[in-house]
Symmetry: C2
Subunit: 209 residues, 2 copies
C-alpha cells in the first residue's frame, strides 16, 4: 500500500502536556512533520521564516484568506495566525504525518474542511491532576489558573467530536499510545481506497476464466 501522510490535530486542556507530547513524537520518530503557521506578527530574535512561521504582511495574509489558502485562521492581539494548506499537503504527499497543535475551535474547523483529519484530544487522568499540574508550574497567577480550569470545563463538552482520547498519566506511555494510534490509522479502509480499487480491478481478470 502506498503510504500517504495523515493530517493530525492534537488538542488538549492547558496543562495536559500536549506540547511535550508533540515535541517527543517529532524527536522520537521520523514520520512526523510539524505544520508551520502563517502570521502577520513580526519575527522575534532567532525566528526563521519557513521554520518557526511563515511571516507575512497583513496584505499578503488577507490575500491568502481571499484565495482560500488557509485551513483556518484567527486574529489574536492584533495579529493574524493561520494554517496554510499548501505546506500541509506537500508534507503529506511526501508521506509525513503532519501535526497541527491547535485549540479546539480551530480543530473543529479543520475537521469540517478535511474529514480525513485525525483528531486527538489529550486529557489528564482526572480533574484534580489537572489543577495540580497548573499550580505546579508555578508560572501562573491563581486568576489565570482559575481561567484555564473554567476553559477546560467548556472545552470538555466538545471532546466527543474528537476521534481519540489519550490520557496523559505518564508521558512516555502517552507518546507510545499516540504513535500506535496514528500508525494504525494508516490501515483505515478510507485511507486506502486507491489500493482497494486496484485490487478489485486486478481480481476482475479471474471473471474471464
Amino acid at each position: 500500500m502506498k503510504r500517504k501522510g495523515v493530517l493530525l490535530v492534537i488538542s488538549g486542556f492547558a496543562g495536559t502536556g500536549k506540547g511535550t507530547l508533540v515535541s517527543m513524537l517529532l524527536e522520537k520518530y521520523d514520520n512526523y512533520a510539524l505544520s508551520v503557521s502563517a502570521t502577520t506578527r513580526k519575527p522575534r530574535q532567532g525566528e526563521v521564516d519557513g521554520i518557526h512561521y511563515f511571516f507575512k504582511t497583513r496584505d499578503e495574509f488577507l490575500k491568502m484568506i481571499e484565495a482560500d489558502e488557509l485551513f483556518e485562521y484567527a486574529e489574536y492581539v492584533g495579529n493574524f495566525y493561520g494554517t496554510p494548506k499548501e505546506y500541509v499537503r506537500s508534507q503529506m504527499e511526501r508521506g509525513k504525518d503532519v501535526i497541527l497543535e491547535i485549540e479546539m475551535q480551530g480543530a473543529l474547523k479543520i475537521k469540517e474542511q478535511f474529514p480525513d483529519a485525525l483528531l486527538l484530544f489529550v486529557v489528564p487522568p482526572d480533574a484534580d491532576t489537572l489543577e495540580q499540574r497548573l499550580k505546579g508550574r508555578g508560572t501562573e497567577t491563581p486568576e489565570i489558573i482559575c481561567k484555564r480550569l473554567h476553559r477546560a470545563v467548556e472545552e470538555a463538552e466538545f471532546i466527543k467530536q474528537y476521534d481519540y482520547v489519550i490520557v496523559n498519566d505518564k508521558i512516555d506511555e502517552c507518546v507510545e499510545e499516540a504513535h500506535a494510534i496514528i500508525q494504525s490509522e494508516h490501515y483505515r479502509t478510507m485511507r486506502n481506497m486507491e489500493f482497494v480499487e486496484k485490487l478489485q480491478k486486478d481480481l476482475a481478470k479471474f471473471q474471464q476464466k
Copy 2:
C-alpha cells in the same frame, strides 16, 4: 479508563490466511477470546459443547432465533449456524476482545446490529498472490479454485464497508499490525464515553470556584 472488550469481525477471501491470523492472535496475546457459534449439527469426535460449538437441537435453535439471542445465523447443508449474543457480551464485559471469524454477509449483519463492532478485512498483496496461494495448497480442484476466485471478485465490492484493510504479505507482520490496530481502537472516543462524561462532571466543580 475502564477497559471493555471490543467485538472484532475478521473476514477475508479464501486463501488469505485469516484463519492463521486468528489462531496466532489467540496464541500470542491473552486479551482475545474466540466467539463460540451455536449449531444444530451433531458433534464430531472430540468436539466439546461450549468450546468448539454450543450444540443445540433444531427446536432450541429456533427458540434462540425467536428470542433474538443471535447476532446472525444461516442455514448450511441442512444445519443452522449462528452467533449467540450472550457469550460475546459476557466475554467483552470481562475485558476480552472477542473475535468473530465470519464471512462477509454475516459481518455486515453484525455491523448493522452492533455499530461498535470493528470490521477487519484481510487481503493478499495482489490478485496473483491469491491465485498462487489457492493453487499452492494442493487440496482443491481447479473448479473449486476458480469458484473461490470468482467469489473474491464479488466480495471485493464490499471491502469499503470494513473499517480496516490489512495486507497479509508476511504473516508475522500481519499479526502485529492487526494487534496494534485493535489495541489502538480502545482509545476511540466513542468507546470511552463513560470516562469522558465522568471527567466532564469532575471538572464542573471548578465552575463554582
